[in-house]
């Protein structure tokens, strides 16, 4: 095909290629520049940043923003909480998605279509915010960590992806052979299905980890105790809600420090964005590989 393409390469094709590559390069710059700007600003003198002098490299290199964050116990508590919530929700999510996804993939499961329909239906119609809130309230989960973990434990989309994966990657012959040898379903699942399913387990773990790490809304509505706040809620109060960063800092510090913090208010925002993105950045190579896979599997069955 490459040869053919060369033969047919006309002037209009060349023009097309030039345009295509230039537009893609511009898109690339538009995507990357804001991210780059955040990174270099977090290492720069805040005065230089706010006057627009930081454009291509850090100006007046400083780590002050990170130092202030290091001393901020609220941010670290949020960090710890978020990590805990991520670990718990990934554990819960996997134990539900992998088992149910496998069960739903088995053709000999009577009522499979009914179960699938009941699950997929919730993608298109739901009780909505208020009834869900009242339910969580009735279950006495308000203001407990379970409120941010259990109500969002599984999604229909994940189940579809997992089911499709098992259907296409665990051959029926394998099950039949195991059955003839007297293997029970549970044993087959744990000693054959699970070892063959590391890709899907990775996809699901990453899915729910990123979701939990990035989510703020359940915590906003269900949690009142600040000691339970995940990082995203702390971020919200510093980055978004026009609350001054200095107010979020520890009270009882001496006025000089407060003045300094005021000055570094903007700087803290940049460093905070970087610090909060570190776990996702570390996972990014995996995320990219496995998430794309997940989306592809999911797309097979729409």
């Amino acid at each position: 095909m490459a040869d053919l393409a060369k033969v047919a390469k006309s002037r209009s094709d060349k023009l097309f290629d030039i345009l295509n590559y230039s537009i893609l390069t511009i898109i690339l710059l538009i995507v990357v520049y804001p991210l780059y700007l955040i990174v270099i600003s977090s290492f720069s003198d805040p005065v230089a940043v706010s006057s627009g002098n930081v454009l291509f490299w850090p100006e007046g290199f400083t780590l002050k923003g990170y130092e202030i964050l290091l001393e901020n116990s609220e941010v670290w508590r949020g960090y710890r909480n978020s990590l805990l919530y991520v670990v718990l929700s990934v554990a819960l999510n996997l134990s539900l998605v992998i088992t149910a996804g496998y069960a739903l993939s088995r053709k000999d499961l009577i009522g499979r279509n009914f179960f699938m329909f009941a699950i997929v239906f919730t993608m298109f119609f739901s009780g909505g915010l208020i009834p869900s809130y009242l339910l969580v309230q009735q279950l006495n989960m308000i203001d407990t960590i379970w409120a941010v973990i259990i109500p969002s434990a599984v999604s229909a989309f994940q189940l579809i992806v997992a089911k499709t994966f098992f259907q296409t990657s665990i051959p029926d012959e394998l099950l039949e052979a195991a059955k003839i040898d007297g293997c029970t379903t549970t044993r087959f699942f744990f000693s054959i299905v699970i070892p063959l399913s590391t890709p899907i387990i990775a996809v699901m773990a990453l899915f729910s980890a990123v979701n939990e790490w990035n989510s703020y809304f359940p915590a906003l509505i269900y949690l009142q105790d600040q000691a339970l706040y995940p990082l995203q809620l702390i971020l919200r109060s510093i980055l978004v809600a026009s609350k001054e960063a200095a107010q979020v800092m520890e009270s009882g510090v001496d006025p000089d420090v407060i003045a300094e913090q005021q000055q570094y208010k903007e700087l803290i925002k940049y460093s905070l964005i970087i610090v909060s993105s570190v776990p996702v950045l570390i996972l990014y190579p995996f995320l990219q590989r496995y998430f794309v896979k997940g989306v592809m599997i999911g797309s097979i069955k729409g």
Partner: protein, 322 residues
């Protein structure tokens, strides 16, 4: 069925056909009890956290009194709906919700498709991979950080965008404090964050197009652009339709968590959407029944839009969901 010789089986078979079905069904379920055990926790989860709230939607037709609970509260019929439809906010909320989503559909939906078509024409694998790696990244940024970045970059005094405007001699614009800029900022940032990622599905669809079509077209002297128009786009049309149906199915709900973060008193006239109003009236002002009614209203609109789109797709002989 213990031990049956082949001879016996041959004799039994014609007799048993049809009659034993109920029995074998029960036996099959019994034999697979472990599978049901696997499914059980997830089913319980869906019943409790998805279906009970649907049942709980009845408070939209009741007057919720906390001490009586959902079941014990008195019925009031469609009073809450009437109150909402007659409220001075109704048209504003509906208009804002529809407009934001219409803009989203017009601008944020086609861009990933165009992007995928362009990327598919790139023959340099490394450049292609590089572009993909970079453009997927914003997808993983949390909505709080994204909105934080919007505030930083659009700040009238220190933001990068306004600095740029001033360099070119313009007046700084207070984007986040303006009703007229809200939708542009919302949809623009959405495009920035999601376009690369949303292109994956279209790229996957493009790779499944038969290369012979392209070869034949090249032999006939078709240019690259003509091939994009006449082979690639028709080739991924079914996927485009499915994505469109799904997008419309979430039409009014899309992105309210981001809207909520971007809202402030200055842009509220164009940024208050149905979902954020449900949140405020329900959870902040404890008007549970009223808010549930508004939520239900929105849910029903979504559902009708989904069915309509699906019907339309069927009529156009394209892919449909069901």
């Amino acid at each position: 069925m213990d031990v049956i010789t082949p001879h016996q089986r041959r004799r039994i078979k014609p007799l048993k056909k049809g009659k034993t079905k109920p029995l074998s069904t029960i036996r099959k379920i019994g034999g697979n009890w472990e599978l049901y055990l696997f499914l059980l926790p997830t089913l319980v989860y869906f019943i409790i956290f998805k279906y009970i709230p649907m049942y709980g939607l009845q408070i939209a037709f009741k007057d919720f009194i906390a001490i009586h609970g959902i079941w014990g509260s008195p019925w009031v019929g469609i009073d809450h709906f009437i109150r909402f439809f007659e409220s001075y906010k109704f048209w504003n909320l509906l208009g804002n919700s529809l407009l934001i989503n219409l803009y989203q559909l017009l601008f944020a939906f086609p861009i990933p498709i165009i992007f995928a078509l362009m990327l598919n024409q790139v023959t340099a694998t490394r450049f292609r991979k590089f572009v993909q790696t970079i453009t997927y990244a914003p997808h993983f940024i949390s909505v709080v950080v994204l909105v934080g970045m919007i505030f930083i970059f659009l700040s009238p005094s220190t933001g990068f965008i306004n600095n740029l405007i001033q360099v070119f001699g313009g007046e700084p614009i207070y984007f986040m404090g303006s009703e007229s800029w809200f939708r542009t900022v919302f949809v623009g940032s959405e495009i920035w964050q999601t376009s690369g990622w949303s292109a994956i599905i279209f790229l996957a669809a493009l790779t499944s197009i038969d290369p012979h079509l392209h070869e034949a077209a090249i032999m006939d002297g078709a240019s690259k652009f003509q091939r994009v128009l006449h082979i690639d786009i028709p080739g991924i049309m079914p996927v485009i339709m499915i994505m469109l149906i799904l997008e419309i199915g979430n039409f009014v709900t899309l992105g309210y968590q981001k809207v909520l973060l971007m809202q402030n008193d200055l842009n509220i006239a164009s940024s208050e959407v149905i979902q954020t109003y449900v949140y405020k009236s329900g959870l902040l002002h404890s008007q549970f029944s009223y808010a549930a009614a508004i939520g239900l209203f929105e849910n029903v609109i979504n559902f009708i839009l989904l069915l309509m789109m699906n019907q339309l797709a069927k009529k156009l002989k394209q892919q449909s969901l069901f």
